[in-house]
Amino acid sequence: MKNMKKVFALGLTVAMTASMLAGCGGSTSTESAGTGSSAATESAAAASGDGASITIYNSKMEIQTQLEDAAKAYKDATGVSVEVFMQNDTVASDLATAYASGSPYTINMVDAKDIYSMAEEHALDLSGEKWIGDTTEAISIGDKVYGFPVCVEARGLIYNADAIKNITGEDFDPTQYKTLDSFKELIDKLKAGGMETPTGVMMEDWSLGAHYLAMVYEEREDTDAFLASLNDGSASIADDAKFTSLMDTFDVLKENNYASADPISADREVTEQKLAQGEIAFMFGGNWDWSVLSAYEPTENMGMMPVPQNTDDGTNEKLVGGGSKYFFIDSSDNTSADQQQAAKDFLNWLVYDEAGQAVLVNDCALVPAFSNITLDVSDPLGASVKSYADSGSLVANYNYLPDDHYSVLGGQAFQKYLAGQSDRAGFATEIDDYWKAATLSAH
């Protein structure tokens, strides 16, 4: 009897330890997928009765409730249940957790760079899908299509036309201010009319580094070649005409910044509030900023224009952007063929079903990346972006910047320049040094 107990206790201990080890162990083994209480297996079991059941990982927080509503509508229409999970950490760490626990999401919303780094291992080849013919923004690697573009987003100068009109008395026509010289004249006019500080500059590292500085690389013929020349030291950014012209414009934005006394306190929330309420007239940003601007009861007459520059390469007539946020479908064994098919159907629903299109354009207020969707974009910034996109006036995003680019150059170097703690030569040196030490991503 005593021995029985002992054996039982030991056996229990071993079993529990083993199950823990298996749970924490490699996510590649198929056993661990079985022992872990994975969302995927649970939902597969639940799905046996009523169509498949899929999960979506959403990394665009501002459309979470809209996607949840869409999931309900989709379930009513098709019987497929969709569960939407919101991002609660960085994309990489959320997905790392999901994969390590053997319960990946069926559909994953990630940034373009994540598709390049993850798709070959984790994403389903979508080459056969119909929607590929209706977009120019899908991401393919080799001959396989992995990324479904969720929307189009672009960067430029956001303006408040009403605030400008209040002072100049004329309707604001952004196409008249392509060059920095003409833009400066307007700024001077606004200042003379009583708007002492017509611009705002957000201090966030991603805005400065990933959005503004990145344009220096993007607005040229061959970005890869340029970065390679910075990397091997054969070029210096200080001699670069694009750097000079964009920084000249930045200086004007910086000098007329409402927060020029304390630029590092000018965070996104305050800056956009001032723009929405017409205290300032211009801010560098993108159409995603509408989600913040719209919270401050803005006037309808806002829009986006290219960053003015004294240049004749045509980039001052274009916004910078393209596909943004991509869906990929998990290809691992943890997602069944039924679920993969259900996920493909869901993507097709978004593109080709009227209800799905309405979710993208009306509910989520996104600029669709598909030419067959003709619904009007409701928000003014999105409408600007759509008109530039439709006329082919977008400079493409460069999706291969190193992961620490925005925090090192945007957060450390560019913020110092913004705060007046380094001059342009010092800033240029930091950029050169960064690129000389950087490892360029192969693609």
Binding site: K6, A9, T90, A92, S265
Partner: protein, 310 residues
């Protein structure tokens, strides 16, 4: 039943300590070993492949200038936080256990002398402890609002000028971090010191006073030596907490401005998850753990050596 038999002792251990041991092994030891294994790989965090790279991550960690800068900042931050947390906690504990001598007449008109705590002591104890109950993230955002908006508006109103926010200067951001940490942890450490004060027997203090000590001398020579274990505990807790602080760092400063308030834990997180160098991040985390463990254990060892009992 033979209580000395091995089987009996094993089963007793399993019954009482088994569940806790299992949990500890499963949630701490196994991940620690697995994490140690990951430091030898160049895993990016999501990939299926974990290529073994030997000691490359440790070489890279020691060459990572930004990591060592953040480590230096962490030490700076920890030294000042620990000092101020403990000074404040000790002072608060003294105040909320302080007794005053009251002379009063009872209802029969007889004069009595009694010692009692100052009015509202329990309320103050609870009040000082409350910041510790608020999560670090919330606390960081609350204080961010105070530093960025409230103090700036107040300053502007008083000086009629433009007062920059403390969080916008590199020194200021570190100052804010230290201030908020002191505010957060002082109440918790205060409780430990309160327990320490209460554990010192009254008769020893009285004896010291009767023998001619001034209250300050009694404090220095009797009370504080007898409270040594409280100091050891508080120092250990505050040192280890400060070294791995992340939540307040994230929500209060997020490393701004110019990356000048990135502490070691935040850099480790960025390295692993933002820059996708999971192996390197893990190696740097391990170094941080070792540094923290060495400092903590040394401190406890030195502290325990001189402990006295009443």
């Amino acid at each position: 039943m033979d209580r000395n038999k091995m089987s009996y002792r094993v089963s007793q251990f399993l019954i009482f300590a088994g569940p806790a041991t299992l949990l500890f092994v499963g949630t701490v030891i196994v991940p620690l070993i697995y994490g140690f294994y990951l430091t030898f790989t160049s895993w990016d965090g999501v990939s299926k492949n974990k290529p073994i790279v030997g000691l490359d991550n440790y070489v890279a960690a020691f060459a990572d200038k930004i990591y060592w800068q953040s480590m230096g900042r962490t030490i700076f931050y920890s030294v000042f936080s620990v000092i101020f947390i403990n000074i404040l906690a000790f002072a608060l504990a003294y105040l909320v256990t302080m007794e005053v001598t009251v002379r009063q007449k009872d209802k029969n008109g007889k004069k009595t002398v009694m010692n009692r705590g100052i009015w509202g002591q329990n309320f103050f104890r609870a009040g000082f402890f409350v910041p510790n109950l608020i999560g670090g993230i919330v606390l960081g955002y609350v204080w961010q609002f105070v530093f960025k908006r409230a103090l700036v508006s107040l300053g502007n109103a008083i000086t009629q000028g433009n007062v920059p926010s403390l969080l916008a200067t590199s020194g200021g951001a570190m100052f804010c971090l230290i201030l908020v940490s002191v505010w957060q942890y002082a109440g918790y450490m205060m409780l430990i010191y309160v327990a320490g004060f209460m554990s010192v027997p009254e008769d020893l203090k009285e004896a010291a006073l009767i023998d001619g000590c001034t209250p300050a001398q009694a404090m220095k020579n009797v009370t504080i030596p007898l409270m040594r274990s409280s100091f050891v505990q508080c120092l250990f807790l505050s040192i280890t907490r400060c070294f791995v602080i992340y939540d307040v760092n994230l929500s209060l400063t997020d490393g701004d401005p110019f990356g000048s308030s990135v502490l070691a834990a935040m850099h480790v997180y960025n390295q692993a998850f933002t820059y996708k160098n999971y192996g390197l991040g893990q190696a740097e985390a391990l170094i941080l753990f070792v540094v923290c463990a060495i400092i903590g254990i040394t401190q406890v060892y030195i502290g325990k050596k001189g402990e006295v009992a009443a």
